[in-house]
């Protein structure tokens, strides 16, 4: 291909000025960047809250905040991290930026709807943060909003619940957009099994977004109605059943954890073959396992309710299905490993983050298996072991995949390159801090420390101390990483089209890509990883 005559997407102004260029854009890459900007801000708020919580937990008794404040902190931390960060995370940012590129399309199927999703997201986010400022204080229910406490408490739950409702619709519309895009806009020659695995992962994710999210929408609406009109759908005094609320909540929120992790796995499936310069091993196995996780993931929600008073047979069924859903994840890990065998491995930052992902996701996934066992979960449920588990999978998994994606597509997005040396160092700080922060949580959980505890018994002191120190190192690593990336964005060297020598279509166009991605829509004749 010759060099392009079209302006690249970052320069093009379309006759508009200042921020309006961005706020009215229909370009998928710009919308992706707008998500990135918003997401980073919320994410940093979430991290700060995390740090505050860790400070409070440094010693038993009061360190810095009151119990009521602490309860609001972990609720906001959970709501922000889940609904504003990990769920939209990879699809909204890197899905938007990279999906049309890797399938050789000019944009997503419904560009206007895409922008609308962003506005919905912002509106929902503002509502969520608004709970801090108006009414009777931020919600103190935990991100799970369990009835009947969420109905009784005087804090601003109604608004938070509406926020989650709106955010859900943003997520649904993104999913809808991607499904149609993948069905209709693959470039000529790209049959389903010539499609890059990131697209497969997004496809599976989108189906979960579409079919699971409405359940939480209607459930949270019921909570809101119950609070506003006092009509009890879950209030035992009025014949309701609080456990039914839990069913409805987890019918969505378990599949939601796969909304978080599948796109991350998709990113890893792109990075590993590129940096090993090898054909991915078991392409079909990885593609199918995404679909399998998405499908089986619908039927395991009960594992969050093993101590809720759910009937025995239901516990057994949910436990066994939980174990089955772990297998497709295992298949992916093994195939990634096999892809490295006999490759030519280049340990650049994206690959480092991918390796970090595998290690941390392994710990997260394997502790998930402990949770899934009936007997073990009776002891472990609602303790810090679970907190450790989900930080390993969400932050060690999705978070690290997010970082990997950020380092991988960085040159494509900005047309510049960050400092490889410093990015590598930042990784090691982050990785070390991470393990010091979260591993003690697993230990203290096994010792029996429940979660959502403002204060704890003296025997839990030491692990908590270590964990808090770890949180400082983690944040150091994070700051380091962000500084390196921002430096690269501002003053980095000009990047080539294809610095990592990838074969997927995103690397075949300019960096940064032109306004409509490709001079001409490409035609493919081979699978996406046919390294010679």
């Amino acid at each position: 291909m010759t060099t392009t005559t079209l302006p690249n997407y970052l320069e093009d102004k379309q006759g508009k000025k200042g921020l309006m260029v961005w706020l009215t854009t229909h370009d998928h890459k710009r919308i992706g960047l707008m998500y990135l900007a918003a997401l980073s801000v919320f994410f940093i708020v979430g991290v700060l809250i995390g740090i505050l919580m860790r400070l409070e937990l440094l010693n038993p008794g009061k360190d810095i905040v009151d119990p009521q404040t602490y309860n609001s902190l972990f609720t906001l931390h959970g709501v922000i991290m889940i609904f504003l960060f990990v769920i939209p995370g990879i699809p909204a940012v890197f899905g938007n930026i990279a999906l049309p590129l890797i399938i050789g399309a000019r944009d997503v199927a419904f560009p206007k709807l895409n922008l609308f999703s962003w506005y919905l997201y912002m509106f929902g986010a503002m509502l969520a943060l608004g709970t801090l400022l108006v009414g009777d204080g931020p919600p103190d229910t935990g991100w799970t909003f369990y009835a009947p406490y969420s109905v009784k408490t005087g804090t601003n739950v109604t608004m938070a619940v509406f926020a989650a409702f709106i955010l859900g619709f943003s997520s649904i519309l993104t999913g809808l957009n991607f499904i149609v895009t993948i069905h209709r806009m693959r470039c000529p020659g790209m049959s389903w099994f010539k499609m890059p695995l990131f697209a497969w992962a997004l496809y599976a994710t989108s189906w979960i977004q579409l079919l699971a999210t409405p359940v939480v929408g209607i459930t949270l609406l019921m909570i809101a109605v119950e609070r506003m009109l006092g009509i009890g759908l879950f209030d035992p005094a009025l014949g309701g059943d609080p456990v039914l609320y839990q069913h409805l909540f987890w019918i969505y929120s378990h599949p939601a954890v796969y909304i978080m992790i599948l796109p991350g796995m998709g990113v890893i499936s792109e990075i590993i073959p590129t940096f090993s310069q090898r054909r991915i091993f078991g392409y079909k196995a990885i593609a199918y396992s995404s679909l399998a996780i998405a499908f089986i993931g619908y039927f395991v929600w009960g594992h969050h309710m093993f101590t809720s008073g759910m009937s025995g047979p239901a516990r057994v069924i949910f436990s066994i299905l939980t174990f089955l859903v772990a297998i497709p994840s295992a298949i992916k890990v093994f195939n990634w490993l096999a892809t490295m065998y006999n490759g030519s491995i280049d340990m650049k930052p994206p690959m480092l983050y991918a390796m970090g992902f595998i290690f941390l996701f392994l710990i997260g996934g394997l502790t998930g298996l402990v949770n899934g066992a009936l007997a073990a979960d009776i002891h472990i449920h609602d303790t810090y072991f679970v907190v450790g588990h989900f930080h390993y999978v969400m932050f060690g998994g999705t978070g690290f995949a997010f970082f990997a994606a950020m380092h991988y597509w960085f040159p494509k997005i900005w047309g510049k390159m960050y400092s490889i040396k410093h990015a590598t160092r930042a990784f090691w700080v982050l990785f070390t801090g991470f393990n010091i922060l979260y591993f003690p949580m697993l230990v203290v959980g096994i010792m029996g420390m429940p979660r959502r505890y403002y204060d704890y018994l003296p025997q839990f002191h030491l692990p908590n101390e270590i964990s808090t120190v770890g949180s400082w190192i983690t944040v150091l690593g994070l700051v380091y990483m962000i500084v390196v990336l921002i430096q690269g964005m501002r003053k980095g060297e000009k990047a080539e089209r294809n610095p990592w020598h990838g074969l997927t279509l995103d690397w075949q166009t300019d960096s940064p890509p032109t306004l409509e991605n490709f001079e001409e829509i490409p035609t493919v004749t081979e699978g996406p990883y046919e390294y010679k």
């Binding site: 069905h183 619908y298 009960g302 759910m310 009937s311 239901a314």
Partner: protein, 95 residues
């Protein structure tokens, strides 16, 4: 769902479907007058399902659309029904 010639459902077919739906509505109301004990729910839901299939296949064109769309509808229904069934695994066995 590839570009295919659009199939036109003619007026008469639509009207026939409408007649069927109307008859089924009357039927279901009529049946509900009897006490069918445990069958009540089953009968009412079966009739509703026949009506739904009619609406889906003719009014909503599903019968003339591509296979993949039908598969999607089925997957959605399977997932929806499983949500109910799996929740019942809890309630059926509570003591």
């Amino acid at each position: 769902m590839d570009e295919q010639k659009h199939h036109i459902v003619d007026y008469l077919t639509n009207i026939k479907v409408w007649v069927a739906l109307a008859v089924l509505t009357i039927l279901t109301v009529w049946v509900s007058e009897f006490n069918l004990a445990t069958l009540t729910v089953a009968v009412a839901l079966s009739i509703a399902t026949i009506k739904a299939i009619l609406v889906l296949s003719y009014f909503m064109h599903l019968k003339f659309d591509s296979k993949i769309l039908i598969i999607m509808v089925l997957v959605t229904l399977v997932i929806f029904l499983s949500m109910i069934i799996f929740t019942f695994f809890d309630y059926l066995y509570r003591k």
